[in-house]
Structure formats: structure tokens, C-alpha cells
């Protein structure tokens, strides 16, 4: 049972680490702001959730597990809220998405440079 818990914890931690790296790579490599939100979203949701659940399975007291649950709950609530607030603020401030040449936003505007 202990071996199973340790193996599962290790697997979750390593996959959480992998998703954190994927999210960071998306932050660097994607071409424009609205696309980079995807990378940040991966980092905030899957990366954080897998790492924190993997930490919950490590041998510790129950108070530590409860604190980790509180951190996870708070991150799950606030990360999408902050992401939505940021994208809404950027869009209403006039930051235009970078679209393909034959695609336009509903306002009739679109960026022509790729």
C-alpha cells in the first residue's frame, strides 16, 4: 500500500512538472497574447493541480493535507477568474487578436499582419 501511494505520488508530481514545463514553453513560444493565455492556463490549472495532488499523497500529517486542499481550492477558483479578467481587460482596451488574413472579428476589425 505504501509502495502504491509513493508510486502514485511520484507519477503525479512528475506529470505535474511536465505540464508546468509545457505551459512555460507555451508562454515563450506562442505568437501573440491571446495564444499565450493557453500556456498560462495549462500552467495554472493542470500543472498546479497535479503537483498539489501529488504532494497530498506524500507521507505527512492530516493538517498538512488540509492546507494543501485549501491551496488547491483557492487556486482553482482564482486562476480562471484572473485569466478571464485579464483577457476581458485586454480586449476592451483594444488589444486586437492576430487573425488569419481572411478572418475578421465580429466588430469587422482584424489584424492584417502575421
Amino acid at each position: 500500500m505504501e509502495v502504491l501511494r509513493e508510486a502514485l505520488s511520484g507519477l503525479l508530481l512528475v506529470s505535474g512538472a511536465a505540464f508546468c514545463l509545457i505551459g512555460g514553453l507555451g508562454l515563450i513560444r506562442l505568437p501573440e497574447f491571446y495564444a499565450r493565455m493557453h500556456g498560462a492556463g495549462i500552467l495554472d490549472t493542470l500543472g498546479a493541480a497535479l503537483v498539489l495532488v501529488g504532494l497530498m499523497l506524500q507521507p505527512a500529517e492530516w493538517t498538512v493535507v488540509v492546507k494543501l486542499m485549501v491551496i488547491l481550492f483557492f487556486l482553482q477558483i482564482t486562476s480562471p477568474t484572473a485569466a478571464h479578467a485579464l483577457i476581458h481587460a485586454a480586449y476592451t482596451a483594444g488589444h486586437e487578436p492576430q487573425l488569419a488574413d481572411d478572418v475578421h472579428t465580429s466588430d469587422g476589425e482584424g489584424s492584417d499582419d502575421r
Binding site: 505520488s9 511520484g10 507519477l11 508530481l13 512528475v14 505535474g16 512538472a17 511536465a18 508546468c20 514545463l21 505551459g23 512555460g24 514553453l25 508562454l27 515563450i28 497574447f33 499565450r36 493565455m37 500556456g39 498560462a40 500552467l43 495554472d44 500543472g47 498546479a48 503537483v51 498539489l52 501529488g54 504532494l55 506524500q58 505527512a60 500529517e61 493538517t63 498538512v64 492546507k67 494543501l68 485549501v70 491551496i71 483557492f74 487556486l75 482564482t78 486562476s79 477568474t81 484572473a82 479578467a85 485579464l86 481587460a89 485586454a90 482596451a93 488589444h95
Partner: protein, 90 residues
């Protein structure tokens, strides 16, 4: 190399990548986004570091910084929109 150390190094590299985008990002929105991600990665890093050093009190720091990161992001967005952090909605 235990999985805790793997997670720690991966989150550290992710923090570096977020800083790179914060330095390079052509618009201010990119910078806000990457600082927010840097904060989330910091929370994860502190939590894993607590386990690596066998000090479970670090989780209090992680929770506190998760709260601060969210409030900071929302505060800077309001500052961009209104220009004044003390103003109400109008």
C-alpha cells in the same frame, strides 16, 4: 533523483520561462500574464520546497502568496482600467 526534486527543478525552470516572457513580451498584457504565472509557479515552488526540506510550515507561505498573487493581478488590472486604485465604479 526523487520526484520531489524533479518537480522542484521543473517549476524553477518554468519560473525562468515566465520571467523571459515578462522581459520580452511586447505588450503590457503579456507582462501581466507572465507575472501572474510566475506567482502561481512560486506557490508551487514553495510548497514543493517545504516537502524537500521537511518543513511543513512552508505551506502557510504558499497559501499566503497565492492570495497575494490574485489580489495583485486584479489590482493592476483595475489600475490599468481606471487609473486610480481608490476609485469606485462609474
Amino acid at each position: 533523483m526523487s520526484s520531489l526534486l524533479v518537480a522542484m527543478w521543473a517549476v524553477l525552470v518554468t519560473m525562468g520561462m515566465a520571467l523571459l516572457r515578462a522581459a520580452r513580451g511586447p505588450s503590457a498584457w503579456d507582462r501581466i500574464l507572465s507575472v501572474n504565472s510566475f506567482g502561481t509557479a512560486t506557490v508551487l515552488f514553495i510548497a514543493v520546497l517545504g516537502y524537500v526540506n521537511d518543513r511543513p510550515d512552508f505551506l502557510d507561505l504558499a497559501l499566503l502568496y497565492a492570495l497575494l498573487n490574485f489580489i495583485g493581478t486584479i489590482a493592476i488590472l483595475k489600475f490599468f482600467k481606471v487609473g486610480n486604485l481608490a476609485a469606485g465604479e462609474d
